[in-house]
């Protein structure tokens, strides 16, 4: 057996049930790996005592034969999830010192399922970013490097700490959240699997809100099977989130048959971007061939409004963020600025928010404020919402034509160097999400699967997009792709 922290969820679960290891041993192995991985800056709040407590409880349940699906499996939790009594800062200075009095529904579901929380994971501030460089904790670092080149690379974002931690075997799996690609892009940059489920599948209650109509939680794992196990544990109806779907959660793992014969996979022509690296083209063609070999029918499709997804997103997401982030006012929780003599409440708000929010968050809140302001609401916000309707209609049209899933690249490039985009204009960074953001706007499930390496030895991912609520079928397609691609590479340990 490989080292315990290197196991995936399914392997560890089976080893626990066979009595080959214990939750305590698994947890200790991860805690040791975390302590040795400071250079990755993935875990930003560690909870070793809590983890050992939960591991002991899991071992007791295992001994009694009363072990739920994730019993004894050590995982990391993105800092965006409120966890009772454990710092939950959303990567922001403005929530420094915040200790939630409650637990997010998703992290509670995982705890109820027996999972062991190891700590909180680095992320872009308020999940706004594609490189984990906007975090108050500093950059998370990708365990992957370009061969012998020691340039530190981004693990992607916003769930950069989650992706780095899973890829470096600091935990068996981690939670992520995805508003425009924040699970799938980091998964693709680190050779891991990440699924954003259908909007409404996971409760958003207790997850710090960025853009409420787009945010969804999902698992980041070492395999598609692990994603199926963990997504099932995270999902389910929650009366505390009015957008949470009251639908039964299928047995996702049971859907992994590897048989996609007779399924129809659509290939959208609009995802063939000008200037796309040849390696991404090649990877995509290989993926298409793999799905065809597995017995799927391949059909060229058109999603004509694709190019308008990013501009629509950069109206809708900041608009919702400006509203959601209004709550950080220095009154109820988090940071409050030191005030000068004579400062009133307005100065308190303005100074608190200027000190507490980083540059990218301030910029997005102000863009959101602008597009919602009197005189511009129709021209920007309403127009973007109408374009969103058209983007969703594009998908509905192809699904009605019999398309079961859509195969695209996950990202327009492999992981880039930390700091490489610093001088680029903000729009250049936004282009990272060009293949993923349509899925959030349409509320669909999407999964990133590692499918190959570029010439520098960095992982590249493909994305599969499914029909609403058909995560089971989508995961099966992803499982088929994963088996065909046979991606087994791991980053060489340098940290």
């Amino acid at each position: 057996m490989s080292k315990l922290n290197e196991l995936g969820l399914a392997e560890a679960r089976d080893a626990l049930r066979a009595g080959d290891t214990t939750a305590k041993e698994l947890t200790e192995a991860c805690l040791i790996a975390i302590e040795a991985a400071g250079a990755l800056n993935a875990f930003v709040h560690k909870t070793p005592e809590l983890a050992m407590e939960r591991a002991a409880a899991a071992d007791a349940r295992l001994a009694q034969g009363d072990a739920p699906a994730m019993c004894g499996l050590p995982v990391g939790i993105k800092d965006l999830f409120c966890t009772k009594g454990v710092p939950s800062q959303a990567g922001s200075r403005i929530l420094q010192g915040f200790l939630p009095e409650y637990e997010s529904t998703v992290s509670q579901n995982l705890a109820d399922s027996g999972a062991v929380m190891l700590g909180k994971l680095n992320m872009d501030e308020f999940a706004m970013g594609s490189s984990n460089e906007t975090s108050v904790y500093g950059n998370a670092v990708n365990p992957w490097r370009r061969g012998n080149d020691v340039t530190p690379l981004t693990p992607g974002g916003s769930s950069g700490g989650s992706a780095a931690a899973v890829a470096a075997d600091l935990c068996l799996a981690a939670t992520g959240t995805d508003t425009g690609g924040s699970i799938r892009q980091p998964a693709a940059f680190t050779g891991t699997v990440g699924i954003k489920p259908t909007y409404g599948r996971c409760s958003r209650w207790g997850i710090v809100a960025f853009a409420s109509s787009l945010d969804q939680a999902g698992p980041m794992t070492k395999s598609v099977r692990d994603a199926a196990i963990m997504l099932e544990a995270m999902s389910g109806h929650d009366p505390k989130d009015s957008t949470s779907a009251d639908l039964p959660v299928p047995d996702f793992e049971a859907a992994l048959t590897g048989d996609i014969r007779g399924k129809t996979i659509g290939i959208p022509k609009e995802y063939r971007m000008d200037g796309m690296p040849a390696e991404i083209e090649t990877l995509w063609s290989e993926g298409i061939a793999m799905m065809k070999d597995a017995g799927a029918e391949i059909v060229d499709i058109s999603l004509p409004h694709t190019k308008y997804a990013l501009p629509a997103y950069y109206v809708i997401a900041p608009a919702e963020a400006s509203s959601n982030l209004a709550r950080y006012d220095g009154v109820r929780y988090g940071h409050r600025a030191k005030l000068d003599q004579g400062d009133g409440i307005t100065e308190m708000y303005e100074k608190t928010r200027a000190e507490g929010f980083g540059h990218e968050v301030q910029r997005r809140v102000m863009i959101g404020t602008y597009v919602l302001s009197a005189g511009f609401y129709d021209a920007y916000y309403n127009r973007a919402r109408k374009v969103r309707t058209l983007i969703k209609r594009d998908f509905e049209t192809v699904f009605a034509q019999g398309i079961d899933a859509i195969l695209t690249p996950a990202t327009p490039s492999a992981a880039f160097g930390l700091g490489e985009m610093t001088d680029a204009d903000p729009v250049a960074m936004y282009l990272n999400d060009v293949f993923t953001v349509t899925v959030n706007l349409a509320g669909l499930p999407g999964v990133a699967v590692p499918a190959g390496l570029d010439t520098k030895g960095l992982p590249l991912g493909l994305q599969l997009i499914g029909r609403p609520w058909q995560e089971a079928d989508l995961l099966n397609a992803a499982y088929t792709l994963e088996r065909a691609a046979g991606f087994v590479a791991k980053p060489a340990k340098w940290w």
């Binding site: 409404g200 957008t243 501009p311 109206v315 200027a354 301030q362």
Partner: protein
């Protein structure tokens, strides 16, 4: 649509974020870059299209209009930067 420094200052004020005057030109420039990108939306024919309100068609659930939670003053105040006598404390609001 071009944003000048005074518009940038107005937006910062609306967003309740203090921006120093010397930072306004750069901020206005960034806004213009982003809004320039967003302007692409003007190419789309949106005649007769309804703005999206809910991405998954669903009827919001209703529940009985009764108190289901409460009496948690200490927990509500536990993270406040300044809480006194059971209240959130803020600088003087009215003279």
């Amino acid at each position: 649509m071009s944003i000048d420094e005074s518009t940038a200052a107005r937006v910062a004020k609306l967003a309740r974020i203090k921006v120093e005057p010397e930072a306004l030109p750069a901020l206005a420039g960034e806004f213009n870059t982003i809004l320039g990108f967003i302007e692409q939306l003007n190419e789309v024919d949106i005649d007769g299209v309804e703005p999206m309100t809910s991405v998954t068609p669903q009827v919001l659930k209703k529940r009985a209009d009764v108190v289901t939670d409460g009496d948690q003053q200490a927990r509500v105040l536990s993270n406040a930067p300044d809480a006194r006598e059971g209240f959130f404390a803020v600088p003087k609001v009215v003279e």
